[in-house]
Symmetry: C2
Subunit: 408 residues, 2 copies
Amino acid sequence: MSALHRPGRTPAVPASPSPGASQEEIRRQNLGAVLRHVHVHGPTSRAELTTRLGLNRSTIGALAADLAAAGLVTEGAPVTTRRGRPSLVVSPRSNRVYAQALSIEPDRLRVARIGLGGRVLDLRDTPRPAGTSAVDAVVPLAALAHEMDRDVAADSIRVGVAVAVTDTTRDRDGRIRIGGPDETLRADIEAAFGDGRPGPTVLAGDLADIAALAEHVRGVAAGVDDLIYLHGSHGVSAGIIIEGRLVVGHGGRSGKVGHMVVNPGGLPCECGSRGCWQTEIGEAALLRHAGRNATPGAVQEVLRAAADGEPEAAAAVARVADWLGFGVANLVNVVNPDTVVFGGSLREIYLSGADVVRQRLDELALPASREHVQLLPAALGPDAALIGAAELAFAHLLADPLHIGSAA
Amino acid sequence: MSALHRPGRTPAVPASPSPGASQEEIRRQNLGAVLRHVHVHGPTSRAELTTRLGLNRSTIGALAADLAAAGLVTEGAPVTTRRGRPSLVVSPRSNRVYAQALSIEPDRLRVARIGLGGRVLDLRDTPRPAGTSAVDAVVPLAALAHEMDRDVAADSIRVGVAVAVTDTTRDRDGRIRIGGPDETLRADIEAAFGDGRPGPTVLAGDLADIAALAEHVRGVAAGVDDLIYLHGSHGVSAGIIIEGRLVVGHGGRSGKVGHMVVNPGGLPCECGSRGCWQTEIGEAALLRHAGRNATPGAVQEVLRAAADGEPEAAAAVARVADWLGFGVANLVNVVNPDTVVFGGSLREIYLSGADVVRQRLDELALPASREHVQLLPAALGPDAALIGAAELAFAHLLADPLHIGSAA
């Protein structure tokens, strides 16, 4: 009897075949596999790498030696394997090999140096003045990074710079253009942070996409292949990961779930439409229902008051949680994820109103799609954007370790 | 100045690294690349394969010879290259190597024999009696296939069997369970069509997913990497392809877009919820607005009457087209596709009401996501399900050509 497979796990037939693989490519892939393993899972013995990667001992030995020679890993402190043989432990050189991660958030700007293996080596921030654009953030970010660079050892390898951005800029037609950073921003960051070497030194992405990546690699959704990460702040957006890959869409603008219309004829949205999901679950909606003004810290106050049982605040959270469940049901029906992660202000809404979210989800999602979905609060907190941005930069190192290692 | 990449085209860092590549794997990949090229693009000279696949002449020659020896391609009728050298043309053996494709549709059952290269070699159908389940379809499908098999040459290679299914079955909780085929159906098809050899002989998938694959490989969306294919009939579902890969979701149930709630407090849906998209754009909605009963052919009559300018029919089409644009806007905001393809009854709704669809889409989708979206009618018609099912079966041949070829 032949095995039956999940319908679409079958590889789709691409219209244009990829070019054939070469010897050099195999070596690159295998170097990447070893480096990725210690980057994600931490120090690992050669013996265990042999088992995990399905390569033989001498191959693993040669790959580890090459990575060590390039200054990307260290080998030392042998452990004794089950067969009684000593096996060298391969560790990422977190202090030497790092990514520079930036984030442009609604109220602050942050720069971090994150070592291979995901260790936060340094982290600095500065308030973002109200009314400034993302492009205005480049000069203060560069100043922070410049200070930070004084503490970096001379033989360090910076593998790349990546920036996570939440931003809204006016489009020519007067409507809000929401999404990833625009070309001006990219060019300015490139000029301030690029090192003039060829290759993708500076990478940029939407904050929700990048936080999704962080939760997927090192957070609450580690090991989960199909997930939706929802980020709430002023607006709402999502990072969608399918079969372990971030979905970015044709123009890098997927996941603008805050602009799904859930309530036709509802309140006007800043995008020009009405009844968008974020008019019901964004921070402004919570404050509106709770009868509060949008002052700094007001959202946290409402959430605290709701937890303390204050009726008006509790009712406001429940109302937002209900609409949260409504939109999650739509996304579950469309995407059929394994896990939905709630981040930003939606993390607290979810934690306070989980029963309401679940009830609405159970009512509206198809049972077959609903029954396997885990709902989880984000684990990495506000650092997710920086950790995820670093992963974006590390991905290039992991794809071709010696190219980046030796170019430094 | 370094290149800037689309944020998520960067490979995400998988939590578990894939095992290392071997010599044998390279050969398999390269054989697959050659076979895939002639499968998708038709007969191709060795010289052109050399250019397209980035492999050298002697490698291409050896790969083509191996594929010819396995009976998967022929080599012959040399063409003269630009450099004046003769170059053998590699062609798929469409008459000898085939996939058996089945489809279980609301009103009929079909079986086709589809040759490598996508040629329909034989196609037979029978009505599906009203009220029969998908499982009931297995016996008549097997009878059709049995008849068909009499005309198959003895040295033919069947690379696999795949079935596309639209089906709804009652769940234990009394609600409709909508999605891919259930395990009983798979087991029955396996018993009737499996050949007892190890490997994924029988593959099954949702009809919309499979039609999406067909339009992506050989239809109106050939060469498009990010697309949503919408299939309308009694209900509405979608096949979503992202970066050239079919999105199936955690349980193989993604794309149940007909159950996005677009009109809270709207009409009850068979899923137990209210205001689902298919209550506004399914065939029943069109007939309701047009004041017709659900008799066979009624949908086509309304569409024809609308095209002829009959006011009630035209108003019904416009109303459905308006809700069609509404839901497409939500999907465009969530997924950011390059192309949306309208299939099944939605093809005609779109063709009759394209202006209305576009107007609503322009109003509700974010400009940055909207501006690049192409809206296209499906090209392959009702055969899309069979062509796509065959692609599902061919995908396994293309992943490992000699394994399947030599096992026959």
